[in-house]
């Protein structure tokens, strides 16, 4: 079960804070090219898992493998260089930078300009900058924010800021994209837009792992659903199977009587 060649494999991942166990030994796999959702009640450990996978937290024990190679001990920027990019639960943009500049930062790994080259003002850098600018414009259009490209990210309404977030994450050319509650705080119309974008992203060959609370969103786009509760996996499977799973129902609604 825990074998996803070319994909993400998490084995017995555990995270403890002081005396509290946030994740108690979680194992799951994400097959490449699929959309997998992680659901579970609040405090189940979903964001903790994200933080551990992407290097923001050091796990107490367990293995995280991407395309067969271990991610242990890598800093988030190194993990991004391996093609794994995440978004954040709280809106995360570069507030005083414009929308297009936000995306340009996301394109950081695609640039090659180093210190000496910048200092010497080499001509090839101008060509590189022009190419990056074109890519940034394309990404801004992809998420539908072309009309906002020059505005400061902090000036945008909430839903549009989350689109900026998405564009920035996509700019880093992820092979695996981890979305932390992409639909949070959005209207149904905005969530439909996000669903559509996630589908398009998958069509481009990107593997998507997302954490979400909105069941309709989750069941609508996922190939696989993983359910966490109290820091453990309690179910894993296709959306229909999960919806009927007794333990899942119990976790969300509690036992009757």
């Amino acid at each position: 079960m825990i074998d996803a060649a070319g994909g993400l494999a998490v084995k017995d991942l555990a995270v403890r804070f002081g005396g509290v166990s946030a994740l108690g030994g979680v194992s799951f796999a994400v097959r490449p090219g699929t959309i997998t959702s992680v659901i579970g009640p609040n405090g189940a450990g979903k964001t903790t898992a994200f933080n551990a996978i992407t290097g923001y937290l050091r796990p107490t024990r367990g293995e995280i493998l991407w395309q067969g190679a271990s991610l242990a001990g890598l800093r988030p920027s190194a993990i991004a260089a391996r093609g794994i990019v995440r978004t954040f639960q709280k809106t995360s943009v570069f507030p005083s930078l414009s929308v297009v500049d936000n995306v340009l930062v996301g394109l950081h790994l695609r640039g090659t300009a180093g210190f000496l080259e910048v200092l010497l003002g080499l001509r090839r850098l101008a060509a590189e900058e022009a190419a990056l600018a074109r890519d940034a414009d394309a990404l801004v259009e992809f998420v539908g924010l072309g009309h906002r490209r020059g505005e400061a990210a902090s000036a945008l309404p909430y839903g549009e800021q989350r689109l900026v977030e998405l564009a920035v994450a996509l700019a880093a050319r992820p092979r695996l994209l981890l979305l932390d509650e992409p639909g949070a705080g959005m209207s149904s119309a905005e969530k439909a837009v996000v669903s559509g974008l996630i589908h398009k992203i998958r069509e481009q060959g990107v593997t998507v792992l997302l954490v979400e609370h909105d069941m309709r969103l989750v069941m609508g786009i996922s190939d696989t659903v993983i359910v966490l509760n109290h820091g453990r996996v309690i179910a894993e499977g296709a959306p229909a199977a999960i919806q009927a799973h007794p333990e899942v129902i119990r976790a969300y609604l509690g036992t009757a009587g």
Binding site: R16, F17, G18, N51, Y56, L57
Partner: protein
């Protein structure tokens, strides 16, 4: 051995006042997340207030001390209400810059009012030192130690046993819940800043007569206060008290056995080493950083 004890005693006296400085700052830094660069100026003002009361008004020593403390509290409250409250929502960088401005303005104001020449502050204690076994100590210093100790104890009582203290601790731990429970956050901020500034002024009024009063005396005092806060852990009152004593003793031992020119470096080195290796302070439980 006698020399060691002498250094220890001197270190305790100094440390008591460092503890006062540190307690005030740890509450301000810890509770209000404010890097109070003007903390040293309240210390200086305390010394000058005592000077003004003793030399200018011919007041007694205790009234002068009380005046300094009251002055520190009032000025601190004023500062908080006019300058800090409007900036509460701003980032820590902004408030840092404001406090730097206040620091510069206050220090040069003191220069203009009292001049750059160091002032000797008169005190009513006999100058002949008391001799207790191998150690000799001036009566003034005994007084300083006793008053510092009393103020530290009083601070502890305030924080632990009074309603105000409880409200302060609640605000420190969870501001939103405290607000929901009816704590007036604005008033707590003002009270905390006033309290911290009053303690700094007390330290200045106490140490002023021991050494001299001069306008830049607050600079080093402020940095030592920061090093005490870092040693003891942010917001940790007993930690600050202990840290202050430790710093005072370390300085005295360093000056006595290593080199007196570098005595002020002890505080700097502590800041650097602690922040590098034990950022949460010597006395905090080692916590896992997320």
């Amino acid at each position: 051995m006698a020399e060691l004890l002498q250094h220890l005693v001197n270190g305790l006296v100094l440390g008591g006042t460092y503890a006062l400085l540190g307690i005030g700052l740890t509450l301000i830094f810890g509770l209000m997340n404010l890097v109070n660069f003007a903390h040293g100026e309240f210390y200086t003002l305390g010394a000058y207030a005592a000077f003004a009361a003793l030399a200018g008004l011919g007041a007694g020593f205790f009234p002068a001390l009380a005046l300094a403390i009251a002055g520190g509290a009032v000025l601190g409250a004023l500062c908080e209400v006019t300058l800090l409250r409007p900036l509460r929502a701003e980032s820590i960088d902004t408030t840092m810059l404001v406090m730097i401005g206040v620091w510069i303005a206050m220090q040069n104001g003191e220069l203009l009012v009292w001049g750059g020449v160091a002032k000797s502050i008169p005190h009513p204690f006999p100058t002949a030192p008391l001799v207790l076994g191998p150690v000799s100590i001036a009566p003034l210093r005994v007084f300083v130690l006793l008053v510092a100790g009393a103020l530290i104890a009083a601070s502890w009582v305030l924080i632990q046993k009074t309603t105000l203290g409880r409200a302060m601790r609640a605000t420190f731990q969870d501001r939103d819940t405290a607000a929901l429970m009816g704590v007036r956050i604005d008033r707590i901020h003002t009270a905390t800043f006033a309290f911290g500034s009053a303690l700094a002024a007390a330290a200045g009024a106490l140490l002023g007569p021991v050494f001299l009063a001069y306008p830049s005396m607050g600079d080093l005092a402020a940095l030592k206060a920061f090093s005490v806060v870092i040693l003891g852990g942010l917001g940790n009152l007993p930690g600050a008290a202990l840290g202050g004593l430790l710093l005072g003793i370390a300085e005295e031992l360093g000056a006595g056995y290593v080199s007196s020119g570098y005595r002020d470096a002890v505080g700097f080195v502590i800041i650097i080493l602690v922040l590098l290796f034990r950022p949460s302070g010597l006395f905090a439980r080692a916590e896992r950083v997320g």
